[in-house]
């Protein structure tokens, strides 16, 4: 995951459920298929919500990486 080059970074730090998912949905809408979105977040709930949401919507959840005080999430638009 370390060599993933995101096409766009979305800062959701400090936001809690449901704001990250709604913002991710909007950010993905502006990307084209195959592009990767990196999300910075602090809400532990996103750990479960994002993979579940990606599965439902057919997008590909690539995984997460621990940052200093926040988490990096990666999702690829279908």
């Amino acid at each position: 995951m370390d060599d993933l080059k995101p096409d766009e970074v979305l800062d959701c730090r400090g936001l809690s459920c449901p704001m990250p998912i709604l913002k991710i949905k909007k950010a993905l809408a502006n990307l084209s298929a195959g592009q990767v979105l990196e999300v910075l977040g602090t809400d532990p709930g996103t750990r479960n919500d994002l993979p579940a949401w990606a599965k439902r919507t057919g997008n590909e959840y690539l995984g997460e990486k621990e940052g200093s005080g926040f988490i990096h999430f990666f999702v690829r638009k279908a």
Binding site: D11, R13, G14, L15, S16, C17, P18, M19, I21, L22, K23, K26, T42, D43, P44, G45, R47, N48, A52, W53, R56, S68, G69, F70
Partner: protein, 396 residues
């Protein structure tokens, strides 16, 4: 014992499954249903709002606004349950290394405040929140819960419309947390100590309950532990009534909604047994809000919980997790509920909110229990159907 003995591995796996990984929502639904029966068998139904109102009452009593001294928060049963819930959630969050102080951006802080105010006003009209005016009365066969459910669904829909509008039209909050992000890793990583602190909180809770018993307050001590058990379960499952009502409109996702439906089916059977056999007073938690109080209060509360991002129970466990938006929401929720309740009393409106309707008086025990189970099943089926078809999902 060898370091990689199968037993040690199994224990590690078990520990991670219980204390680190999220529990499936359905497990939460089963446990909440069982706990709701047990707590009522022990003492009283589960509730939230009267406890946090008690804390706000103390604040207003302290500054001289109220003349009457409020109940002792360490003995007043709703307050003890809430303390247990917060401490139980705190322990669970620490054990899972999910505790972290989260500072909200400005807009989120305002939403916490406004959402909290709505929840305070709504819950004073409905005489409770999603727990005390919906879940607990529903499984206690009180008719007000149906109106509250309708109110909550409408409120959640309206709150969601606002949030969707906000995402489309308001500029994204600037990364207000930039100040905290380039933080150097501290010399001591406190996060490593969190699980031990969490275990300490759990031990403290058991000790406190033991002390309650020693001073012949065993009932309160038990409520503290039941509150803590609710706290652990809802934190581990991220069990959230907001999601149950909101997500069918938002993403169509309905795992939590189905879990709430399951918990209702379990609890209503157990509690009907307690009441029908005379172990508990029939009219326990039959709330005199069957009328406009539940309906209007439910709508207002529903809007508030979606905007704040936490309901009665959901606010408390997120407070324990370090989410400071919900700290603001809790403060606004408790204080506005306390003031509004005083005003409703002073103006003589409180008795006009609605009437207490105990379903078995009209439908018989069987009819009442089957009605509640039927509604939970219909809800479950509608949620499952919507999950496939997205019929109710709002597309911004």
């Amino acid at each position: 014992m060898a370091v990689n003995s199968p037993l040690l591995k199994e224990l590690k796996r078990g520990y991670s499954l219980v204390f680190e990984k999220q529990w499936p929502p359905l497990v939460g639904g089963l446990l909440i249903g069982l706990l709701a029966i047990m707590i009522e068998a022990w003492s009283r139904p589960w509730g939230i709002v009267a406890g946090i109102r008690n804390w706000a009452d103390w604040l207003f009593y302290g500054v001289g606004l109220y003349a009457q001294k409020p109940d002792n928060p360490f003995l007043f049963s709703p307050s003890v349950m809430d303390l247990g819930l917060i401490l139980g959630s705190l322990a669970a969050a620490l054990l899972a290394k999910e505790f972290a102080l989260q500072r909200p951006p400005k807009l989120e802080a305002v939403k916490g405040l406004v959402g909290g105010l709505f929840m305070g006003v709504g819950s004073s009209l409905a005489l409770g929140c999603n727990v005390g005016a919906f879940f607990s009365p529903l499984v206690n066969l009180s008719a007000n819960a149906f109106l509250m459910m309708i109110g909550l669904i409408c409120g959640a829909y309206l709150g969601l419309r606002y949030i969707l509008w906000e995402v489309e039209n308001l500029p994204s909050p600037s990364p207000a947390l930039a100040a905290t992000s380039p933080k150097q890793t501290p010399a001591v990583n406190w996060k490593m100590a969190h699980p031990y602190l969490g275990a300490l909180v759990l031990v403290g809770l058991v000790l406190a309950a033991h002390l309650y018993g020693k001073f012949s307050y065993a009932e309160a001590g038990g409520l503290l532990l039941f509150g803590a058990a609710f706290g652990v379960v809802i934190q581990r499952c991220r069990f959230c009534f907001v999601r149950a009502f909101r997500d069918p409109f938002m993403t169509g996702e309905s795992e939590i909604g189905k879990a709430v439906a399951i918990s209702i089916i379990i609890a209503v059977i157990g509690i009907a047994i307690l009441k029908a056999t005379g172990l508990r007073r029939e009219t326990m938690y039959v709330i005199p809000a069957f009328g406009w109080g539940s309906l209007v209060g439910g709508v207002i509360f529903g809007i508030g919980m979606v905007v704040a991002g936490g309901c009665g129970s959901g606010t408390l466990w997120r407070v324990a997790e370090g989410n400071m938006k919900l700290w603001i929401a809790l403060f606004a929720f408790a204080t506005s509920n306390s003031l509004m309740t005083e005003w409703l009393r002073a103006w003589g409106i409180r008795p006009k909110l609605g009437s207490a309707v105990f379903l078995p008086y009209y439908l018989g025990w069987e009819g009442a229990v089957f009605l509640v189970i039927g509604i939970a099943l219909i809800w479950l089926v509608v949620l499952a159907w919507n999950e496939q078809t997205n019929k109710f999902t709002v597309e911004p």
